[in-house]
Amino acid sequence: MTQQYSPSELLICLASRVMEDGTTAFIGTGIPMLAASLAQAMHAPNLVPIFEFGGTGAILEKLPLAVGDMRTYNKALAASGICDVMETAQRGFVEFGFLGGAQIDMYGNLNSTVIGNHAHPKVRLPGSGGANDVGSACWRTIAIMIHDKRRFMDKIDFITTPGFLSGPGAREEAGLPRNTGPYRVVTSLGVLGYDDETKRMKLLSVNPGVTVEKVIENTGFELLLAGHITENEPPTAEELRILREHVDPDGLYR
């Protein structure tokens, strides 16, 4: 029998499964922290989390609440500073980067700066922080998003963090490192990737009980569809147990 789980728990499990063992991942606040912690306990004991303010290779026994807190360098391999980790990414050492945002477009460009006009904003958002650097320098980026039409937009209000910009060749033309860019979008409705040729977002799999039509309805641009769209496995009993007992015992993300 399948256990009940919350939408956040599903997102955490899906993001966790994308993380590979024995590589480096730039981890931001929130769901990526829980996903990295879960991945270390499940299939990726040698995942090396890298945090913006200098923590490298922490063992995530307690959930960090901020990218600079003590838990981001708990039993870590190194505790340096922001220049070191950002320059490490710029030199090509960081495989995965996790991102979020208020808006995303079909090329995976993200907005976390402003809703409305920059000079007279309707909503002033937190700003780039490390997101622009992660989106510029990590080899493959994974965005984690709530999936609806207000967030998946044809034209976003502000490009904070580069995806594929205006399409094929645009990152290289802008001067961004070659062979880098968006890799996956893990959402409340499914998992998406990008078409190799057009660099446009493509639906790869849907979450349990979600139809392809529902994903299309909740996307504000024309979505490409993979030839064979699968259904994601719900969180397993083991994933939920580790998540609830070890990763997030206080239930901050339940």
Partner: protein, 342 residues
Amino acid sequence: MIFHHYDKILLFKSKNEMNQFTKSIPIFEEGEATLIQPIDLDGFREHNRKKTKKLVDKRMTEKEAIDKFVKSGDYIGFELYGTVRCPMSLTRELVRSGKTDFRIVGQGVHELDLLFAANMVREIDFTYISLEVYGISDNMRRRVESGDVTKVVEWSNAAITWRFKAASMGIPFIPTRSMLGTDTLKKSSAKVIECPYSNYKVALLPALFVDTGFIHVNRADIHGNCQIDGISGFAFEMSRACKNLIISTEKIVPTEEIREHPDRTIIPYYLVDAVVHAPYGSWPGEMSGMYERDEPHYKMFIEKQKTKEGMDEYMKEWLYAFNDHQSLLDKVGAKRLQELTL
């Protein structure tokens, strides 16, 4: 292709045509914003020459340090980030000082919440101001969306720190591969050029000099030799980019203790103008290896900051009610502080 030649803008059909004409480095793109803080390398050198190199006693109170080294309109900066290793005792004193109209580097959340609440900020080099897992800062939103903050210039996190790094190197800019192709660059003061050695396109980031910087550390001697435990954030770079630097420290230690572990010194004394002894100086935030964040207090603050009225109450109760840091600690209470201590 656009080329800025003194006050003229020249247009060319190709890069080659332009290079033949100018023998100059073309600017492909530039951010719209003018610099909030001008670059004066030789002025900085001359300022640094005048700073004492003697091992003198620089201890003073928060109030004395702010009276002496801060004036309204200054460009000011804080380290570290979120609620971690924040110079909160200095921040509270700065708010009480009544000095205002600051230009700031928008990095380091909790200090800025208090400055926004007191409407002391006019211009921001903005990278990230938020409450992390607790959502967007309503203090920041109220001031930016209302226009109380008159100028916002965008940067990435690495860009801000690399700008400090350029200043710390004593050079006017640093080339990087961040911000390219985005609106973040358009709303910054970065410029995109082609590297004259390699043909890579790079974003040039202007050096960032701070009039007065505030950094909280684990321990320092009376001269200002500072050691930090755990991650060093951007203390190394920012401390070297400050004209004036005020340090608050959990502990004052003998210089001999510094000399026993010189490899731990992140900030050497000659950078420092004032040393303020502030135990629990990052409260309600945390301090590496010493104490944890006061989560119930911080959650209470999160609720209060949602409305202007709530935040005004918070400021009255937790900032304006005191004349100094010790009286605040007395209110928090020794028992509570002990519970937070690791």
